[in-house]
Amino acid sequence: MTESTHNTCEGLLGSLSDYIDGELGAELCRQIEKHIAECEDCRIVVDTTRKTIDLVHASNDPQTDLPDDVRSRLFKRLNLDDYLKPSTK
């Protein structure tokens, strides 16, 4: 097998991002899963890295609007005062 490097801790690390993002081929995924079934340290690294990204997403609220005062200063600076109200949101 040519891609056997993924059976090592070092090899797994190099593909960690692609693995977590679901961008790794089935065969490489299988190798990684085999490795983490046997290597507790790597299992923890994969789990906690995935969790880290989940937390970043969860703590980042994309619905946050622009503060009103920031918006009105922005519109003034851009000479768009006449479009200031009503907000189109």
Partner: protein, 202 residues
């Protein structure tokens, strides 16, 4: 993503000086640009400067928009450059184009193996937990933080992140991996301490 929920902005109309269209664009994209700027700079005043300069610059450089990326990605690119200008004030060494000195994983090899992933969500996302996370993100080196913010916080693809930062996709991937592992490492220290404390309280 924000992009999919708003109507398409007509570049043609913008180039023709359609102010209503420009106002639309500002309302559609100012929030994500402002959030990104806050994360990049950590100061509301600086973030507001970047926000204003980004749209001013977009207006004067409309002819440079090639349509290879979305309008938002293009705006991110302008915002990143505006933010870098602020970061470089008095700190000439800030340079995200720097090629990383090694392709080795030596500096990112994990050292913390605390299994904190199974902690309950409300504990992971407590006020204190969020602060630790924000702090960890702020602590990332500039060249990694920019990649991380665009990819994992603004949710850009690898390709769009590369486009916005003028980096190769391979370079973006290397930096993203480093950033994620550095964050993981910092959070492992933090939650490791919390788990120890809890144990001793039992």
């Amino acid at each position: 993503m924000v992009e999919t929920t708003i109507k398409d902005i007509s570049i043609e109309a913008l180039r023709n000086g359609d102010r209503a269209e420009f106002a639309q664009m500002v309302d559609a994209y100012s929030a994500p640009i402002y959030r990104l700027s806050l994360r990049m700079l950590g100061s509301e005043q600086d973030a507001e400067d970047v926000l204003q300069n980004t749209f001013l610059s977009a207006l004067t450089h409309l002819s440079n928009f090639e349509g290879r990326s979305s309008v938002l990605t293009w705006l991110y690119r302008i915002a990143v450059n505006e933010a870098l200008m602020i970061l470089r004030r008095g700190k000439p060494e800030v340079n995200i184009d720097d090629h990383d000195s090694s392709g080795e994983h030596d500096d990112i090899r994990p050292t913390q193996f605390v299994d904190w992933g199974a902690l309950p969500e409300d504990e992971l996302l407590s006020v204190e937990g969020r602060q630790a996370l924000d702090h960890a993100i702020q602590n990332l080196p500039e060249n990694l933080r920019m990649v991380f913010l665009l990819r994992d916080i603004q949710d850009l693809s690898i390709k769009d992140t590369a486009e916005a930062l003028n980096l190769s996709e391979a370079n973006v991937k290397v930096r993203l991996l480093r950033a994620r592992l550095m964050l993981r490492e910092q959070l492992s220290y933090y939650y490791g301490e919390r788990m120890k404390k809890e144990k001793s309280n039992d």
